[in-house]
Amino acid sequence: MTVALSDVLIGVFSTTLQLSPFYLFAGMGEVVSEQSGVANMGLEGIMLMSLMTTFVVDYMTGNPWVALLAAIGVAGVIGAFFAFTAIRLRVDQIASGLAVYLIGLGLSFVIFNTVYPSGLTPNYIPLPPLITNWNTGPPALGIIFLKQNVMAYVSLVLVVVTAFFLTRTSLGLRVRAVGENPKAADNMGVNVNKVRFLATLFAALTFGVAGFYFAGNFVPGFQTDVIAGRGFIVLAMIYFANWKPYRVLFAALSFNIVYAAQSEFVSLSGFGVASISTLFNMLPYVFLLALIPIFGRKARAPKFLLKPYKKG
């Protein structure tokens, strides 16, 4: 099939910009949380609950903004609970994260099934695209931006804000201090657990937004195991980005570029055969793995990541 290269590139960039915000929202939250010393392995469970809430509330009210609020609210509740157990009760973060994942996975579908048992769901009403008229530049370029709703741009802004927050604001520096050396921070008068709690809660809220964004951009309806491990990939991205927000942006964009490119390539080449496309499906993940020798050597986790802090 003869397709213009420019069309292909536009398509790849468009898909990348459409998919990346999901990873960016979650990534920014988790970066802040892990910099303070708490890792939330249950992020996919929270995302599933938020995703389910998004669909249900959107179906009921027809208003995606209300759905966004509801999604954030649900994520906040679960996140607060997780934060309490991880920080105050000091249970093992990885294990409790996995438990949150399981609960989110099961409960989201149970609730959805109870509300809509026969699958008779109305249509999902998404956020409208932000830019509806593209007059300023080449029309082909417009395709990249015409589809995206406002949240996509918010995610990019969030990256900048997070980077600024962590490096230039006093609260941000406190967050990092708490993750690097909580004892010293405590001696300086920082309430270690409170900072960690806020960071973890913030992370959970971003997971709620990520779950909201997943609706309509990845899939137009709620189905079983729809997120399919993408939440966990965020953890890998943060690791390879050495806990720096701009590098997370790079990791997310490059991961999705590889994903979009291989998908486009498989479509164009007319392989059409399921077995070959699974081989190509592996590329984005292998790509992330290949980053280890490049970035992994210098990867330095926050020193007290996963280690609970007890005062005194």
Partner: protein, 349 residues
């Protein structure tokens, strides 16, 4: 006096575990009742269906073997402070390897091929965890992150193999499907009237051996020390890379081996139904419930084998989605962690 405290501590921890499990079951029952199901039928399905349904008791032992084998690996790695989240991926690779060996080493005589299939599966799991192990030992790369990535790659790889090299020709209308292993290559039952295959005593024997090798030798202390503090381990002269490598590679091999017992002892073929399970996670839960003890994990595995089958049956009777079982497992896991916290708080002082 000290034995008393240890015994009390164990008793208390177990009591909390039981309470946590009860909470999970209660949550499941609540969902059933809310969905309009009959409570009596639900309880009957939950507790009794694994033994009274046709094939139910066979499934108990199949899952027991699965969870115990994988759980021992996870528990062993956990002793050294390493999380094998990749058990699910290693399990899949093990399953694929059974058929790879079957297809490509078919020239071997039967008994050799049979053993080769089992060993091949274990080798597959070991190779699959080798990458995270090397990266962890050599580069300090977090094994959780790498194993998670490899889980996704494993699903894709297994699907590729299933659609190509190990695909069976002609049957099942083009659904990706492997060949069905003939009776010679299945794990035989011990007595025809009882649905237990040789995999069960073999797994129990393995559990006992691992118990003797790990719990009753200096290795236990070595692993625990590495798990608690690398500095202490260094001062004690323990070779940290060695301990990490041994535990991780064993964990991977065990997960691959579990794949072999699952296919050769129960499923006899590979199809996409095996890809969407969460047995790796349940194995982690069993390792935690069994408190990383090679025999304790066995008890936990048996319990969870029974419980998951009963819960799925309960969900079906009540016309509730079987996903409720995931939620129950999660609540149980959470309860167990809280129980651990309460126990530690009481005894850590």
């Amino acid at each position: 006096m000290r034995a008393n405290t240890q015994g009390l501590r164990w008793l208390r921890a177990t009591a909390y575990n039981v309470l946590a499990i009860g909470l999970g079951i209660l949550a499941g029952l609540l969902v059933v009742v809310y969905a309009g199901g009959n409570l009596g039928v639900a309880l009957s399905s939950l507790f009794l269906s694994p033994i009274e349904l046709a094939g139910g008791s066979q499934q108990i032992f199949v899952r027991f073997v699965l969870f115990y084998t994988m759980g021992m690996g996870v528990g062993l790695a956990l002793k050294a402070g390493l999380w094998n989240i990749g058990a699910q991926g290693q399990l899949l690779i093990g399953m694929v390897m059974v058929f790879v060996v079957y297809a490509f080493l078919a020239f071997l005589p039967w008994p050799v091929l049979y053993v080769a299939m089992i060993l091949g599966a274990a080798l597959g799991g070991l190779l699959w965890i080798a990458v995270p192990t090397i990266l962890r030992v050599k580069f300090g790369a977090n094994e959780i992150v790498v194993t998670i990535l490899l889980n996704v790659v494993a699903i894709n790889f297994a699907f590729f193999m299933l659609s190509g090299p190990i695909k069976s020709a002609g049957t099942a209308l083009g659904f990706p499907h492997s060949v069905e292993l003939p009776a010679k290559f299945q794990i035989p039952g011990i007595v025809s009237s009882v649905p237990i295959t040789y995999a069960v005593p073999a797994t129990i024997a393995m559990g006992i051996i691992l118990y003797l090798v790990v719990e009753r030798t200096p290795f236990r202390v070595k692993a625990n020390t590495v798990g608690e503090s690398h500095e202490t381990a260094k001062y004690a002269g323990i070779s940290i890379p060695r301990v990490m490598a041994v535990t991780m590679l064993t964990a991977g091999a065990l997960a691959g081996l579990a794949g072999a017992t699952y296919i050769m002892g129960y499923r006899y073929e590979l199809d996409i139904g095996s890809f969407s399970t969460n047995y790796g996670l349940v194995a982690i839960i069993c390792a935690l419930v069994g408190r990383k003890h090679m025999l304790g994990i066995g008890l936990a595995s048996f319990f969870f084998a029974y419980m998951t089958i009963g819960a799925e049956s309960m969900a079906l009777s009540a016309n509730v989605t079987t996903y409720v079982v995931f939620a129950m497992e999660g609540i149980m896991m959470f309860g167990i962690l809280l129980g651990n916290y309460l126990t530690e708080r009481r005894y850590a002082g």
